[in-house]
């Protein structure tokens, strides 16, 4: 065995695994155990219900769209914060973390107050026939809000450590601005961007507190899957709630694995380009 400089590998690994087991795996095991009470037939019945499918579609498609929006605008914000010096930059930078700190219910109420038909923005939007609050766009808006900091905060350190010589070299070798961005900068950023994307996505899929206030919660239209879980609990249907939770967990897990695959490919692609 290779000698390590710092001792304590066995001890720290043991603690890490025990901690992970206690904090993450044990509750998940309890969930799986509860969910198993529903049986295969119950699971099929649950998954074939149009209402369940509509709620899952809204939760996952909405979260996907919100994560895409966050990836785009998060990259922009991170770029501005890292590359430019302007008055108020530190304040601006601190604002990015607010969605982390705010209780989600407060965020939901604030967004609803703003976008409701009698709200400051909602009033204008309604007069143009655009409905945000109490409709699916409201769900996506809340998801964008809670997921926003992830992309910015993951990208910032990587952007800061980018070697500017490479950009200068690209320009001096005759690359256009666009070529420099898409062929030199972006490939290096993509793996990190995907990490931020995955975090924002995972956050949005599980979001309940803020979405509930703005969604309208109409079945088949603006009802998210976590609300369906709460409804099952209200019916004292613990097994059904746990089963739906398991379905969401599995779907999220598959998505996250796919994203990490994508990350590895993009990492290799970036290496090939350089």
């Amino acid at each position: 065995m290779r000698r390590r400089i710092l001792p304590g590998f066995g001890l720290s690994l043991g603690y890490a695994l025990a901690y992970l087991g206690l904090i993450v795996l044990l509750p998940l095991a309890a969930l799986a155990w509860k969910a198993s009470g529903i049986g295969i037939g119950g699971m099929l019945h649950l998954l074939s219900s149009p209402r369940t499918l509509a709620a899952l579609r809204l939760s996952f498609a909405g979260a996907m769209l919100a994560a895409v929006i966050n990836a785009g605008f998060g990259l922009l914000v991170a770029w501005v914060l890292v590359r430019y010096r302007f008055p108020g930059r530190r304040l601006f930078d601190a604002l990015v973390d607010l969605p982390f700190a705010l209780p989600t219910a407060v965020a939901g109420i604030a967004l609803t107050a703003l976008y409701a038909p009698n709200g400051w923005l909602g009033r204008w939007l309604t007069s143009w026939g655009i409905q945000i609050a109490y409709a699916p766009p409201g769900v996506i808006l809340a998801m964008v809000f809670v997921g926003f900091p992830f992309v910015v905060r993951t990208l910032q350190p990587v952007l800061a450590s980018l070697d500017r010589d490479v950009e200068e070299a690209a320009e001096s070798l005759g690359a256009s601005h666009l070529q420099t961005f898409f062929r030199v900068i972006l490939p290096v950023l993509v793996p990190t961007l995907l990490t931020g994307f995955a975090l924002a996505l995972a956050r949005a899929v599980g979001e309940y507190g803020s979405v509930i206030f703005i969604a309208g919660n109409i079945p088949m239209r603006s009802e998210i899957a976590p609300l369906l879980i709460v409804e099952k609990l209200e019916e004292f249907d613990y097994a059904g709630a746990a089963a739906l939770g398991m379905v969401m967990l599995l779907a999220s897990f598959i998505l996250l694995i796919l994203i990490s695959r994508l990350q590895r490919w993009s990492g290799r692609w970036a290496e090939q380009l350089q």
Partner: protein
């Protein structure tokens, strides 16, 4: 010498008193819109208990959605007393063996010391001319009511609408179903709780009419100004009976049976009935109701028992997974 004897005697008295007087703590697990009510009730009960027994009673409260609260008690929240929005939620606690299954027969009036009914809150001047249930399904009328799957209060709303349609001339199950289905087509926002629905209607300005408990409608009117909303009493409505019970296995464990039982009985006393009336719940005692007659207009009501049998049956028929609400609710 004399002085020290006096001090000793005094000390002795204080000691004896502190041995005799016990500090008792009760936990009352209640539903959401009873915060104001039980704050007043608890103060009055503690004062009365102190005067009669010399013991200091502290009553802790837990508030939340009725179903969620019942689940917490089932899962081990050590409630001495449950005061929930509907009997079905206390039935669920009883099903897990925490109290006798016939709990509802232990106190007068189906164990509901106070009642409410379902009324309409409309915008000032009633611009859409809402007079009765039939007006709620007119074209262009938007109705706010929370989701009966997540809100105990909303289940009473649903059953009130169903009972109205059933009791119309020529009314039957099919017509009731058609009416309630049409009603939920007019619901643009389905909040998860009663307070949320009140806020959507009052603060966000969504909808023309809020279907709500009278207690909630009166409170909204008081909090948000009498000039902003009008209350419309429909031709017929349901008698909402939020029940109370002591949780046998918990009070026996805590040794708090005497005080817990006194607490729930206190809710029927003239003093408590007046507090309930002041907090917009309809009192049971005729002499107290008479004093608050202006606040509570006469309503033609039916009970769960009259129309739907037992809460368990109503729950299974309307609100269980795949039952009638799932078939005809919004989005259908």
């Amino acid at each position: 010498m004399k002085k020290s004897r006096v001090i000793l005697a005094l000390l002795g008295t204080v000691f004896a008193a502190s041995v005799a007087a016990r500090d008792v703590t009760l936990l009352n697990v209640s539903y959401d819109p009873t915060r104001e009510l039980y704050r007043d009730i608890n103060a009055a009960f503690a004062a009365q208990w102190k005067a009669q027994h010399g013991d200091t009673v502290t009553i802790q409260m837990s508030h939340g959605g009725s179903g969620k609260q019942a689940r917490s008690v089932v899962d081990g929240l050590p409630a001495d007393i449950v005061t929930l929005a509907l009997a079905y939620d206390i039935d669920a606690v009883a099903d897990h063996g925490l109290l006798a299954r016939d709990w509802q027969k232990r106190l007068p009036n189906n164990s509901s010391p106070y009642t409410s009914t379902v009324v309409f809150l409309v915008r000032k001047g009633n611009p859409k001319g809402i007079r009765d249930w039939a007006d709620l399904i007119k074209p262009g009328v938007q109705v706010i009511t929370p989701n009966p799957k997540t809100s105990g209060g909303a289940r009473w709303n649903f059953l009130a609408a169903w009972g109205y349609a059933l009791k119309q001339p020529g009314g039957n199950e099919a017509k009731a179903r058609a009416y309630v289905q049409a009603l939920y087509q007019h619901v643009p926002v389905l909040d998860t709780g009663a307070r949320g629905a009140t806020n959507t209607f009052a603060q966000r300005g969504v909808g023309d009419v809020l279907v709500a408990w009278e207690s909630e409608a009166l409170l909204a009117q008081q909090e948000l100004g009498k000039g902003t909303f009008d209350i419309v009493v429909p031709s017929i409505s349901i008698l909402a009976e939020p029940p109370v019970a002591v949780v046998d296995s918990n009070i026996d464990k805590h040794g708090s049976r005497a005080v817990a039982e006194a607490y729930v009985k206190f809710l029927y006393s003239p003093q408590a009935q007046a507090i309930e009336a002041k907090n917009f719940y309809r009192p049971r005692l005729p002499e107290v109701s008479a004093r608050y007659a202006a606040q509570f207009p006469k309503v033609n009501t039916f009970t769960i028992h009259d129309v739907f049998g037992h809460w368990r049956q109503a729950q299974a028929k309307f609100f269980a997974d795949g039952a009638i609400f799932d078939q005809i609710g919004p989005g259908h």
